[in-house]
Amino acid sequence: MTTSHEPTYPPPRRLRPWNAVEKRLAKVGITGRMLVLAAPVIWLLVFFLIPLFVVFGISLTTKQFGRPPYSPLLTTEEGTVQLTLHLNNYIRLFTDNLYVAAYLSSIRIAAIATIITLLIGYPMAYAIARAPGQWRNVLLMLVILPFFTSLLLRVYALTGFMRGNGVINQFLGLFGIEPLVMMQTDFAVYVGLVYTYLPFMILPLYTNLVKLDDSLLEASADLGARPLRTFLTITLPLSLPGIVAGSMLVFIPAIGEFVIPSLLGGPETLMIGRVLWDEFFAATNWPRAAAVACAMLVVVVVPIMLLQRAQNSVVEK
């Protein structure tokens, strides 16, 4: 009948200013969760989404002399606002063979580099994941170590290895082997891409493989599968999310790579990053460069979405 037996709890004690702030924010309908989310949202908005729209806007203008070097989107004339959208930049992308070839070549180079990275990275990730506990962190550190120096320095160092009188050719010279031409070839670009992006393949693969339950491998062996069969039927399918994640992390930046093809590649190495650079700086054609960039985004986003869907269907267990 009476509630006198129910103990009354004092409200939880908190810092006074926080209480006041929280109450005031709650009145406007803002919760702590929203505040936490706000930081990354604002960051992405200011530094990613708005610039993206600016670039997209520029891609719909035409080149002109002056500053800025493109026509305005909006013009006001006698009290009317006029929006002028030039689509010819995009039309040129499809009609000019240079761009189509550059896109296809970029995709081809990035795909081949991704496959090579996967073939080299998988065994490494597997070995690290299977290494004794105290070794794993050391090995992972070694994988990450190259990031301590700048990409540019490392790519220059590669030229030191591969150029005509570089380390490799000098070594071969000791055995009387003619110097090999490596620089300014597609080979050098692949070496650079694989070398640079290998950690991005290894790390997600490692995090996947290290979680692999040993008892699954034992169960497979117990049921009569030899080690290779166990790898193909158990380890490989279960590491598919890691393969997808690693491949995405390599493939996507490799498509738009500029530094590596321009330093290591030759004139015949056609990649969209270099085309974009040339449009922007050599031809000062900002609208065309912006259109190239926007089209590249589409080229990259489509495979991401496809892979993401593939990954979701695998992860969904």
Partner: protein, 383 residues
């Protein structure tokens, strides 16, 4: 509980070792991890169609022994033979053995059917045969409608049955089960225990079960091997292990026991008299014991083998009656467990069956009571 009736042909080959060849023979097997011996000089013979339980606490080496049978660990020394064949150099994928893992180790990316078919596919059986066998196994574990599901869509009990079906798929000569019921709740465990025994009996496969649950071992096993610190402490049928433990460890590990220390005062071929200061009386044992006068030894008795009374009972040969005060009573429904503080200072536990409903005359707290027992009720232990 699940004691099998004695048949005309004795189904217990271990009782007649001269005429029966063991199916699994473990000879002086030792396994060291670094300097630590997980398994030490274990020798064990297991016969065809047995359901042998390896019982022990954690770190007793029971799982290591099982893993050596499966081939996941190689013995540091010693020999393991299965069906007369030395298994030391045989990799797991070539052994006539299958294992049911404690975690079940079901392949998460395969359906129930694919899991069960996995081992059969490795044998390159024709597709139709695999399908028939999978259907048969699904029926055996009563999961006919679950073949297309993935392991994560099943309950714990269903997963356990899939794991069992997968392990049985290749008709192994020997099935190893690592804590097969460990992940199930109590109710389901009890149901599954009997199902497991039924399947084992109908298929005639030899089972070796590792468990830390003595009740499970008692229910399932034809014989139990009690393991302690890497060694086999005792091998015997469940009744032997419970009623006739060979050491204080086994007596205390299985069920609950009162153990007292005593000195031999009379050592005759037909009886032994032990004086126990702790108990405050003599113990008369109605059979000969391998001991010497004045030897210090231990005597162990189960709580249910003793009788409580208010009046002084007769005892046996002027012995086997201890006096004490009831300190605690635990009412468990079917029985009541009394903790009695004896005059000798020892506290013992005595259980009494509650055969009268709501007995108003039951012995209660702080009463002076006499405890007595039969001359055969306890075990004399020298180790």
């Amino acid at each position: 509980m699940a004691k099998k009736p004695q048949l005309a042909i004795d189904t217990r080959p271990w009782r007649d070792t001269a005429n029966n060849k063991p199916f699994v023979r473990i000879k002086n097997v030792t396994k060291k991890f670094g300097d630590v011996s997980a398994v030490h000089e274990v020798s064990l013979d297991i016969y065809r169609s047995e359901l042998f339980c390896l019982l022990g606490g954690s770190g007793s080496g029971k799982s290591t022994l099982l893993r050596m049978l499966a081939g996941f660990e190689t013995p540091t020394s010693g020999i393991i033979e299965i069906d007369g064949q030395d298994m030391t150099e045989v990799p797991p994928y070539n052994r006539p053995v299958n294992m049911m893992f404690q975690s079940y180790a079901l392949f998460p990316h395969m359906s129930v059917e694919q899991n069960i078919a996995y081992g059969l596919k490795r044998d390159h059986l024709p597709k139709a045969e695999i399908e028939a066998r999978v259907a048969e196994l699904l029926a055996l574990v009563k999961l006919q409608d679950y073949g297309k599901r993935k392991p994560h869509q099943l309950s714990g009990g269903q997963r356990q049955r899939v794991a069992l079906a997968r392990a049985l798929a290749k008709r192994p000569k020997l099935l190893l089960l690592d804590e097969p019921l460990g992940a199930l709740d109590k109710k389901l465990r009890e149901e599954t225990q009997f199902e497991l025994v039924k399947i084992q009996e109908s298929l005639g496969v030899t089972f070796i079960v590792v468990t830390h649950d003595q009740e499970e071992a008692m229910t399932l096993a034809t014989r139990i091997g009690v393991m302690n610190q890497g060694e086999i402490a005792m091998i015997g049928e469940p009744t032997d292990v419970y009623e006739y433990p060979n050491s204080r460890f086994v007596a205390n590990f299985i069920g609950s026991t009162n153990t007292v220390e005593g000195t031999v005062t009379e050592d005759e071929p037909d009886h032994v008299r032990i004086h126990s200061a702790e108990l405050g009386c003599d113990i008369y044992v109605g059979h000969g014991v391998d001991c010497a006068p004045d030897q210090i030894l231990w005597w162990a008795i189960r709580p249910e083998k003793m009788i409580l009374s208010r009046e002084r009972p007769e005892g046996v040969q002027g012995a086997n009656v201890a006096t004490g005060i009831v300190e605690e009573i635990a009412y468990l429904g079917d029985i009541s467990l009394y903790q009695v503080a004896l005059e000798g200072g020892k506290r013992i536990r005595v259980s009494q069956t509650n055969s009268v409903r709501g007995n108003p005359d039951a012995i209660t707290w702080d009463e002076k009571v006499y405890v007595t027992w039969d001359d055969n009720a306890g075990s004399v232990l020298t180790v």
